[in-house]
Symmetry: C2
Subunit: 590 residues, 2 copies
């Protein structure tokens, strides 16, 4: 079965390698990890090879899958991962599922693309037989408790006031609950994270009756009877697709129904195209969650990120985040070398720079750069520390607590004809100085629909924007939940006193969009030089009570060169659309 019997040269000089030749088998009793291993090996010396799957349903288990130690941006770190498709060091490779379903079991990464160029994944759906969440229905609600009816027959265990479900070989404790409104299949109005994370940690889950979990304790949000509850467990370790140190990657007609991590995550890659890459619920699965984290996430990438005709729904974090990272200057080791520390535990080890990159020296207080340097040598010491040597002597003015950002690895971003909905948290998180176009998308998020931030204090996500166009999109009800945003579009770099400094962000144009949303706030902005809000249509459906986080539709602080004009407001009674005192909506600068 290792003989490659089926090499067909096409006109285009592509080598078609048929997975059938490597012992591929359908059915849950067959693990295809070894078959893929040989299939990829056969492609190794055939640039431009297409590894083709006969259409079918194929299962993959971690036991005999390839193992790698990996630092994956914005995932929980530690240990090795098992990988079904270890695409490392390839130049020119297409994986064509021809409409197949790939079903994974337990902790593993379906696709890793590392150190490769010209890789295409297409025509496949990704799912887990047993996803890394479970769900139940609110069966009863009391003053200070509620009951969740678990799925019939689901393996579970109550222990030490915790509820455990199986994932892979282990029973994992639930560490968060999410209240899903069955009418919208989205987070219930007002719910958010108020029964998850640290708020969950103070609650107890005990068996009220067989198959029924009772939640007690200081419940910050009480779900309604009949609502669905998504129950989170496990660590965020295994994305559906992980792209690393690669370029020219295309993902096309690939659907991720579930991933125990993000749908797709890329770090230090150049030129990525997603076309009909969907993170979506499997039809008739009854499930309320897709990926357990972001749909797509890009850290320290460059070139063009193009996302078109994608649907991102019901994942347990933001649909899209594009950012760099700020790393901390710990110590000057010589006149040209600094010891640098990764500041966020979820982005350790991903690579701060390579020789030839330009790094910007940034003050943490203002997030503004005060010097730049070209990297001569990089010495990774461990996941947390790296020594960076510059070609020229370091600036004299380096201060303790200053941070570095990579000025070379910044991507352009185009998102067109995409729909994001029903996920946890925010919509598009954009922190990149590249050219950004969000056009013709439909966006509804329980928090801000678009967030343009940047901070060197909490998530250490870098990338002041320079050129953002948000055009022709439809924003549906955003900010239905607390804590995830102030307005539909949040421009909120974490600078404590923005008035003291030059603006962080620049040139944000919001034009020709439709805002169809129940709340007052359309835009919150601070530290922006060049803000245009033109020809937008605002409608006020009454789907939810207004949350009133903002008094005004547009609230700007430390902003310059503002242009707000020609907006149309189809306003309902009692929810007046108003601008800030300085910038009334619908008109030019006062």
């Amino acid at each position: 079965m290792m003989v490659i019997s089926n090499l067909l040269r096409l006109e285009a000089d592509w080598v078609i390698i048929d997975m059938h030749d490597f012992g591929l088998k359908e059915g849950p009793e067959h693990d295809n990890a070894i078959a893929v291993y040989w299939g990829l090996k056969a492609c190794r010396n055939e640039p431009g090879a297409v590894l083709r799957f006969p259409q079918g349903t194929y299962h993959f288990r971690p036991e005999k899958a390839t193992e790698r130690f990996l630092y994956i941006t914005n995932h929980d770190q530690g240990g090795t991962r098992r990988i079904a498709f270890p695409i490392a060091g390839f130049e020119g490779l297409t994986i064509d599922g021809q409409g197949s379903a790939f079903i994974f079991h337990g902790p593993m990464i379906p696709f890793l693309v590392e150190g490769s160029k010209g890789v295409t994944l297409k025509n496949v759906t990704v799912d887990w037989e047993r996803p890394m969440f479970d769900q139940g229905t609110v069966a009863a609600v009391g003053d200070d408790w509620f009951d969740i009816r678990l799925r019939d027959g689901v393996e579970h265990e109550f222990r030490d006031n915790r509820l455990f479900f199986r994932f892979g070989g282990r029973m994992e404790p639930v560490w968060g609950l999410h209240d899903i409104d069955p009418a919208t299949m989205a987070h219930a109005y007002g719910s958010g994270d108020r029964i998850s994370w640290s708020s969950f940690a103070r609650l107890s889950m005990e068996q009220a009756a067989p198959g029924v979990a009772r939640v007690t304790g200081p419940i910050r949000h009480m779900p309604k009877e009949g609502h669905l509850i998504a129950m989170r467990f496990g660590r965020r370790e295994n994305p559906g697709v992980f792209l690393k140190d690669s370029e020219d990657i295309r993902i096309e007609r690939v659907t991720v129904h579930h991933a125990p991590g993000m749908g797709l995550v890329a770090q230090r890659c150049a030129d990525i195209a997603l076309e009909r890459f969907d993170v979506k619920l499997r039809e008739r699965s009854g499930r309320v969650v897709t990926a357990t984290a972001d749909a797509v996430h890009f850290t320290n990438c460059r070139g063009a990120i193009v996302i078109e005709h994608c649907l991102f729904e019901n994942q347990l974090d933001d649909p899209c985040n594009v950012h760099g990272i700020y790393s901390g200057i710990v110590e000057r080791l010589s006149d040209r070398t600094v010891l640098v520390r990764y500041l966020e535990s979820m982005t350790i080890g991903i690579g701060v720079a390579e020789p030839g990159d330009t790094m910007r020296f940034v003050r943490r207080e203002s997030l503004l750069g005060y010097a730049e340097g070209v990297v001569d040598d990089v010495s990774p010491i461990n996941g947390t520390f790296v020594a960076v040597t510059f070609k020229e002597p370091l600036p004299d003015t380096i201060g303790e607590g200053d941070v570095l950002e990579n000025a070379t690895w910044n991507a352009d971003l185009t998102v067109r004809h995409c729909t994001v909905r029903a996920n946890r948290a925010r919509g598009f998180l954009i922190t990149t100085p590249g050219k950004v176009l969000l056009e013709s998308n439909t966006i509804s998020a329980p928090g801000a629909g678009i967030k343009i931030s940047g901070d060197a204090n909490s998530w250490y996500e870098s990338g002041a924007v320079r050129d953002v166009t948000i055009r022709g999109n439809v924003f549906l009800d955003c900010n239905t939940c607390p804590d995830w945003g102030r307005a539909v579009i949040d421009i909120d770099p974490e600078i404590e006193e923005p008035e003291r400094f030059d603006c962080y962000h620049r040139n944000i144009r919001i034009e020709d969009n439709t805002f169809r949303t129940f709340d007052t706030g359309l835009v919150y902005g601070r530290s922006v030089d060049g803000f245009t809000f033109r020809r937008n249509t605002i409608e006020r459906p009454r789907h939810y009570p207004a949350r009133g986080t903002q008094k005004h539709a547009i609230e700007l602080t430390a902003a310059r060169n503002v242009d707000i004009a020609d907006n149309v407001c189809a306003d309902g009674p009692g929810t007046a659309l108003v601008g800030t005192d300085e910038y009334p909506i619908g008109g030019g600068k006062r």
Copy 2:
């Protein structure tokens, strides 16, 4: 401080690189991990460099130490390690401590030598500020309990019937107790592992009074009042020296006072010389334990292992083990490829073979090879599985459960003028077909002084011996503890019915030794072709009551070509030295 100001060419063309130039600092407040990083970097392009430390006491912490994911033979697996001296890819390097003391903190490996050739470590002592064990004194003994007085002021915690001590950043639960007789500083007579491992798991440790732990439960061995108790905690992850995929390594005048793992471990290395490499108690430290596992351990090595003038004492496992591994044949993937599984969790991922190696196909029942093959390609899949492709078609007779051993990577072993004593478990464990000489050593172990085994069922340690000479050694009281051996020299391959098969071991000569030991059994042997026991002197001190595991001094089963003659027995009254029925001691074959 990164400038190499001090390069002196000697006659021998060695480049002396002085660690002083890289920010090296004495004192526990200074971590020298980064300094060593730069020091090694400076040696990188200087084959034959000597990295020299001014004599002093230097501390190393894991925080800024180099990180690597490693599979280390016979250690607990999983996760990355921090390494103070990451000597990887060097050709010609000497680390000269010039008598310095290196003090380590928490979980880290002092020395890793990987993929290198011609590396010498010398003139340094290795210790931990806080070792990965603690110790106390038996303060009181009852019928079914005993109390341990902890060291004054030691940080500890009682929780859930367990006692916790700190190692690195974590509080670790004690998982084993060892009864140390202060008169000998060795395991007390009859103690062994009977209050450790699984026997410990059934015991409770609770606070009897401040600083006093009370042990209760089914106590299988009751220590005496005034005895010392070594308390084990933590995982076996970090050896003092780890040699991997390297050749021509010399360790000279290096003392390991402690390691949270083995003293030195080597896998797939060729030609290793240890000269005055001591694993020994630090004087006046009061400690009862050195390394928490074997003193030195060699897996799948080849060339010559030469160990001379070394002292291995008080470590918590065998002083020396030289072996190969049996790996399991899981599945025939093609006519030339098998999927192979590592069978012992502590030896996963270490590398079963490389192209060009000869592998032997072995039946598990007899441990005898039935075919050999030369490796064409090796594809590691993960820590547990590897695909091995042979140059020629596989033998037709491969059966399920058959195992493979590497016939190329087998070392010769010379041990001369060494002393081993007061450790846990056995003495020298020898399973290698290479030429073995143990000469002029002083050996006392609480189990067998020498064990020549081999098994494909429990530890999967391979290597039937072909040529072993045990000459001119002094064996002092061995087998003072239960469970660790039948006689002073145990030859016990795990073959259930050795009579059914050809002999596993061959040519073991035991000549001109002195056995000064209280118990009857001198040699237990099975499945040996060629056994000589000549000109040995046997003395019977009465230090302990005889254990009587053997009725006869020499007991042999399934042995051929036996020569027992000219032995001198200075026997004490009441402890008759007798041979087996077949082979009486002192005379030739009957």
